[in-house]
Symmetry: C2
Subunit: 413 residues, 2 copies
């Protein structure tokens, strides 16, 4: 569908800003590399700050480097409605992951200026520090500190793979701010590329994100008996890989059979001793189970453990299942979600409710502040890749929906 | 069963020699480390040569370092009946793999001397250079050169992982002999530990080896689509690991369902990109199919390829199957095999026919010369490991069977 002519935002300006930001840390294959608090990340932040100041915003930086660019509201006593995302990228990242949410937020502020629209609540665009977790682990650091998931001190002492200390890199890049990390917010709205194929496959223009999947991550160690591949008859083997292969199949079946957006993945699998003619004695693999409903996720946990135990018994091997990480399902704020859905419908954009399978700053923020997200399609569902791409019209639609939801939440003055 | 008192060999002398050899390169956990043409291998060879000379043998060394210790026969025009195996070990090898066959051969010669028995054919014990292939690749070098599988020149130029050239190490250790690598033999008999669990599990004292399994080795690359584990619904995935897991299961089923000593193994499996929350886009794995019958092995090859193609189709991935290595089934000489069986029966030893699943020098030699092997049980079927062990009585039984088969083949003078 072609774009309506009456959008409240400026599609060309948004696209030009995305293109200008992509020049910083541009990679050979058309992506971007702005690792958190690198020289490139600093240059991207500086460009963003200059744009915000040109748009009349007041910029503050907190002690973990999160940036907040504020357009005043008519009632200075009210907390801001915050839009945002992140500007850091994966090492071979794309031009839109995170960046789109930040620059769509800036486009909303620029459009409010164009139209001379005042809001009751202040309006802000946030840039959260180190969402990707590539240079410094864990991911979603800035939003995690702002919402109390991590303490400031533990994060400042994180050491990058290149040996740099996060606190020192904040100082070096000029983003060791003095604002407290607890930042009052009335509501939070994050626009983001879907990073998956659903909207494109179903030909939907907007994803109305109703919440984030709960995640349970495990590490499984299967121990059999290492032996020569030649002289050991099949019936006498205790092959850790054969047993693990059945477990991988069972994990997939769990995802296929559980209703309602279940996702199940084995992403790492290591075989020991890793020799062509030795029956594997030990296999390590990871399991990632996701579902938006807590009770269903708990049921998946039980079925997964039961399946692993049954397969191990039958194969004559042992299997240890260790909990690695857990994140509860995070429903977003029903009122804000409805505003996103209403905005999409108001423009006549095709849309569907969708659950976020990936982690986003919004997922941490949702633990403290009413939150919603707007998804736009991305080409072939590909993200974290230099070929990551969106259609300019989809970006414009996402920014327009963000504009409407923001105005409805910040209130016309 | 306890040992008969009338064995033709001396069990205590055999055991003492095995223990003395194990002192050279002894490891902390009770194994041996004598990497091919290392200082330890040289010391082991020197000890063996000194024992042979003390037993009245003439020792010759060929140009690839194979050692032949000869006890003359009554007819000097006849080629020798050769016993033997290897003295080199894995880095954390055991005390019996290879060593048993060499020292059982020496024990046979010592026992012929004790009894003043003359044979028509000369009798020899061979030590083949670098059977293990740990320091220099490929394995079974010495027997391979002697039988024309490899050329002398290509092997002399092999470089070890530590940078040493094989030809130079032969000179350094004093085993660059001048005998031609084509060594005339009337027959070849190799005693060896089973390196598998069959004899122990079935409580057999002797394995009558009827031949060696044919082997076909493959490399399989499965290519799907790498994607985020969260935002990619199960039904839209092309998960290379899920498909590969089904292939691993199919490879195992092929081994279980094919009659007659089929062995099928996946020993290496590598997942890309190897991240907890990324659906694997590519998996590499190896396949090792073995069967003693050529037609059956060819049928396994077809069923394997068909299964991989069908699973790939169903999973929406591609799978490339590359041939990596092939070794045809090697039946041993029926007359010699019968002599081994008759010898075991004559002593009243429990025994069974068995196919060698592992590679041995005898498998190369069998391509040129009538060959048979005698297997003895090893504890828990474990080999290539410092805990490798045998019962002294099983060693004595194996040497006794070797003695009888040798005398029957070399002929009483």
């Amino acid at each position: 569908m072609s774009l309506p002519s009456n959008l409240p935002i400026n599609p060309d300006r948004l696209w030009a800003s995305l293109a200008a930001m992509a020049e910083i840390g541009a990679t050979a294959k058309g992506g971007s590399c702005r690792l958190a608090l690198s020289d490139e990340d600093k240059a991207g932040r500086d460009l963003f700050v200059s744009w915000c100041e040109a748009a009349g915003c007041t910029v503050t930086v907190d002690r973990v480097g999160n940036i907040f660019a504020r357009r005043p509201g008519s009632d200075p006593s009210l907390p801001p409605v915050v839009m945002g995302s992140h500007l850091d990228t994966q090492p071979t990242g794309g031009r839109f992951d995170g960046v789109f949410g930040v620059l769509a937020g800036l486009e909303v502020i620029r459009s409010l200026n164009d139209r001379g629209l005042a809001t009751r609540h202040p309006v802000e665009v946030a840039v959260w520090t180190n969402e990707e977790g590539s240079r410094f682990s864990p991911p979603m650091m800035g939003s995690g500190v702002a919402t109390g998931v991590f303490t400031l001190d533990e994060i400042l002492d994180k050491i990058a793979q290149d040996g740099a200390r996060l606190g020192d890199e904040l100082v070096r890049t000029g983003y060791a701010g003095d604002a407290p990390v607890e930042h009052p917010m009335h509501a939070y709205l994050e626009a983001h590329i879907e990073q998956g194929p659903v909207l494109e496959v179903e030909e939907k223009e907007i994803g109305v994100v109703t919440g984030a999947q709960g995640q349970r991550w495990y590490e499984v160690t299967v121990t059999g008996v290492e032996a020569h591949a030649g002289p050991t008859p099949m019936r006498l083997r205790r092959d850790a890989l054969v047993a693990s292969a059945r477990m991988v199949t069972a994990v997939q079946a769990l995802g296929l059979e559980t209703p309602g957006d279940a996702c199940t993945t084995v992403g790492i699998l290591d075989v020991h001793p890793h020799s062509r003619n030795v029956i594997p004695g030990r296999v390590f693999f990871t399991v990632d189970l996701r579902h938006p409903d807590a009770a269903t996720l708990a049921g998946m946990d039980r079925r997964f453990r039961d399946a692993v135990a049954a397969i191990a018994d039958e194969a004559g091997v042992t299997a240890e299942v260790a909990d690695f990480w857990e994140f509860p399902p995070t429903p977003f704020d029903a009122t804000l979600v409805k505003r996103v859905r209403d905005a999409a419908a108001g423009f006549g954009f095709s849309h569907r409710d969708i659950v976020s399978g990936a982690g986003h700053d919004a997922v941490y923020v949702a633990g403290k502040v009413p939150t919603a997200m707007v998804f736009i399609p991305c080409e072939d569902g590909i993200s974290h890749n230099e070929v990551e791409n969106i259609a300019p019209a989809d970006g414009a639609r996402g920014a327009a929906v963000l504009f409407e939801a923001l105005v409805a939440t910040a209130g016309a003055a």
